[in-house]
């Protein structure tokens, strides 16, 4: 059978993104990033199991500027995926499909996930005594 070249939907070149579609693709992107980021968890746990020396160098690496940037990205991805995931669970229960509600919950997800990231890092810095 001959393949016809019909335009696909959504036609991304002319598609105007909205909050709902951006959050949807961000949910997927953060999900992929989190799975890749579990490599950090594997590394940290193995270092802890290997002994004080390996753990010390892991802490040094994760505490470096690069390590902190990665962890900041990871923590935001986690909080976003968590909040938006809860939004998805409500949808699975058949709740919150009205356009107004979908936008309100979308805005709430953005605000709460940023707030949780700020709170977590504030607490972590407080635990470390500001360093």
């Amino acid at each position: 059978m001959e393949k016809t070249q019909r335009p696909l939907s959504p036609h991304l070149q002319i598609y105007r993104p909205q909050l709902t579609s951006v959050l949807s693709i961000t949910h997927r992107a953060t999900g992929i990033a989190l799975l890749v980021g579990t490599l950090v968890l594997v590394y940290w746990l193995l270092a802890a199991a290997s002994g004080a020396e390996a753990y010390g160098s892991a802490q040094q690496l994760l505490g470096s500027w690069l390590g902190r940037i990665v962890l900041l990205g990871f923590s935001f991805a986690l909080f976003f995926h968590l909040c938006n995931g809860i939004r998805h669970l409500f949808w699975d229960a058949g709740l919150g499909f009205e356009l107004k509600t979908a936008y309100a919950s979308g805005n709430a997800v953005v605000i709460v996930s940023i707030a949780m990231t700020v709170l977590a890092w504030g607490l972590a810095y407080a635990m470390r005594g500001g360093t």
Partner: protein, 126 residues
């Protein structure tokens, strides 16, 4: 043969109950991960500046070790289910899709086993 009902013919031929298994397990692990990931982040914050001995002592607690294992299993199960859908959506070559799904599933199993080994070796270690 004439006395067989259509139901008897259909039995075992298709999905009658397990068709939503993937979807269901994704939601189940998601629900489990809500409290588990919040607990884990809070715990990490509390040991962020601690030395090795403190972290080992923390993982020596049975409750912590059990929750860590649950977190690891739920995380990699959830991640594997999620990434499988991504691969199914975006990889269009049939053999490449199958190969990447198999590889990703095996890899996440390996990573989960590694994490479990690390946690248990600390929990059962001296």
């Amino acid at each position: 043969m004439k006395f067989r009902t259509p139901l008897a013919r259909a039995r075992g031929l298709g999905s009658a109950k397990a068709g939503t298994h993937h979807w269901w397990m994704q939601r189940l692990t998601a629900i489990a991960l809500v409290p588990l990931s919040l607990w884990f982040v809070a715990s990490l914050i509390s040991v962020v500046s601690a030395d090795h001995a403190t972290v080992i002592a923390w993982l020596h607690s049975p409750l912590v070790a059990i929750l860590c294992c649950a977190l690891i299993v739920a995380t990699f199960y959830h991640g594997q289910l999620g990434l499988q859908v991504v691969l199914e959506d975006y990889v269009h070559s049939e053999w490449l899709k199958l190969a990447s799904i198999v590889l990703m599933n095996l890899l996440s199993l390996l990573l989960a086993a590694t994490c479990l080994f690390a946690v248990l070796s600390i929990a059962f270690g001296s």
